[in-house]
Amino acid sequence: MTTHILLIDDEQEFVTTLAERLDMRGFSTATAADGESGLAMIRETTWDVVILDLLMPGMSGLETLRHIREITPGLPVILLTGHGSTREGMEGMQLGAVDYLMKPLAIEELLEKLKEAVNP
């Protein structure tokens, strides 16, 4: 069965390319450009994994994560950080995120994490 992944990131060039690469690997992906639209899509559809960027204009990644936790407490979330600070990553982990990864990503690492998230 296909794993449904929602990618929430304001950097369109990044997120669409990553989505395409994941599609090529047999995942089913959709993208959202900010926290609000991402949350709307989570409310509408059921997802297997969410990949969430922490640094976004408008609603921040952590804020979005909190809302996701409220809507679907069991949904696995993988965080992406654009900077070297581990603090937000750790905070996200405390809020229930599966793991956090640093941009730029190594695709193999991401696939590993996805596998862990879907089959804990």
């Binding site: 990044f14 390319t17 690469r21 090529m24 900077h83 640093m102 941009k103 990503l105």
Partner: protein, 577 residues
Amino acid sequence: MWTVRNLVNQIDTLFSGGADAPGHYQSLTRNIIITMLVVTILPLTVMGVLNHFQYGRHLRGELITPLASSAGKAKHSFELFFEERLSTVRFIANAYEYEDLLDDHTLNRLLRVLKTELGGFVDLAIINADGDMVNYAGPYNLKGKSYTSQRSFQEVLIKGSYISTVFMGHRKIPHLVVAVQRYSDEETNWIIRATIDTDRFYKLLGTIGLSPQSDAFLVNSDNILQTHSTYYGKTLEPCRLDIPTGSQNTLITEATDAKGRQLLLACSGFGNADYTLVIATPRSVVMRSWYALKSDALLVYAVSLLIIIFMVIKMAGALVKRIKESDERREIALTELQHTQKLSSIGRLAAGVAHEINNPLAIINEKAGLMEDLVAAGEDFSQKERFSQLTAHIITSVSRCKTITHRLLGFARKLDTVMEPLHINHILKETFGFLEREALYRQIEVRLSLDPNLPTISSDRGQLQQVFLNLLTNAFAAVEDGGVVSLTSAPGPEEGLLVTVKDNGCGMSEEVSKRIFDPFFSTKKENGTGLGLSISYGIIHKLGGSITLATQPGEGTQFTVTLPQNPPTDTQGSPEP
């Protein structure tokens, strides 16, 4: 002017504490010394001089009074002596009639009585109104001589009585004359005249009790000596001193004699005769105690002056040394602060740049990844292998860039510190574990000298590992294959501890060692980011420690890290920018 400048320069070189002291401290030392000397020596000197004059004046009064009193007493004795002689003669003139005294026998008897009872009388003569000597008792035959032209005769006619000054008589002995005029009942006048020798003068002068250097004598108003003087001439010679005569009060003056001696003269004129008593005392005798006091005071002054100068110089030196040391400490603290500020501002800039670059980098990474995926999934084409190689290279390069940007971001923000109790030796062993294989491979001798009795400290394990890994990596890079790297732990200051990482590698120049903690300063050309040591520096400072190095080109480098037992309270990372 030149000599003053030279003197100032000499003072500078003397008290500046060596040629390497900056001019600022030299002039500071000089100013302190001059100011302190002026404020101490000036009042002391002024007080000394004032005291000197005040006390000198006072003491002179004290010393001169006895001299004046001696002179006054002696004068009274002389006056009394003259008065006595005059009274005696006057008594004879009144007690006897003119006719009685013309009798040789009577006159001789009178002279004999006078000689035995009073002494000093030489002769007695009776002179009539015409100035002829009508009777005489004495050693010479002067009867019948005329005295009209003699001064004593004229003076006695006018004054009624007369005491002459000293003159040389027929016997070549100095003597003087006392004469009294008497009117007989027939209104004719006659004169009785007595000659007295001056032996009694010396007895009277002897009673003053003078010191051997002093001299006492009589002069008349023409400054002719009436008695012998020990130093200033013989009887009837002009006195070699300039004596102020004419005052009946005792007068104290100063004079200098022919030998250059400074004298104090006490002069007192007689009321009943033309004599002035003089006591001449050398100043040195009178003022001896004053001079002794003065030299004592001078000695005390000189000694105090030396002590003051010595103390002022010592104190100024110590003071300026203190100031200099505190200046140097401030300088070091300022440099430290500037360094920290430089690090922090460069860090912020770097973080900004890294963050901006990180996003496009992520895009490049994904695009290249997609290209790789597409090539892999697509059909074979002529350049397929080359294509995948190229994309692989792009991805590798992006990965390298990522390392740099993440380090930059880490440098700027620093990872949050997690404090836990830990043993430094465990961390050092663990860290060394990362490099054990390299050491083995390159035959580098690693000397571990870890003190097993070190206390547990509270610090951040991960960050300490990062620092020591960085220091060890640098040491490994510095030594040749087969070199020596020493890792030591020991107790440090204030219950903290001390870790040294030492290599016998290439070392570095002073120029390089000054900049070694600056961000982006690297000696490894392409292989280094120039961030390792500046990050280490930041971490150790945040953990409340310090990191220093000692190095000599060609001899090796030693980094010393100190760590406190407990970190400062504000180690929880800086706020997000």
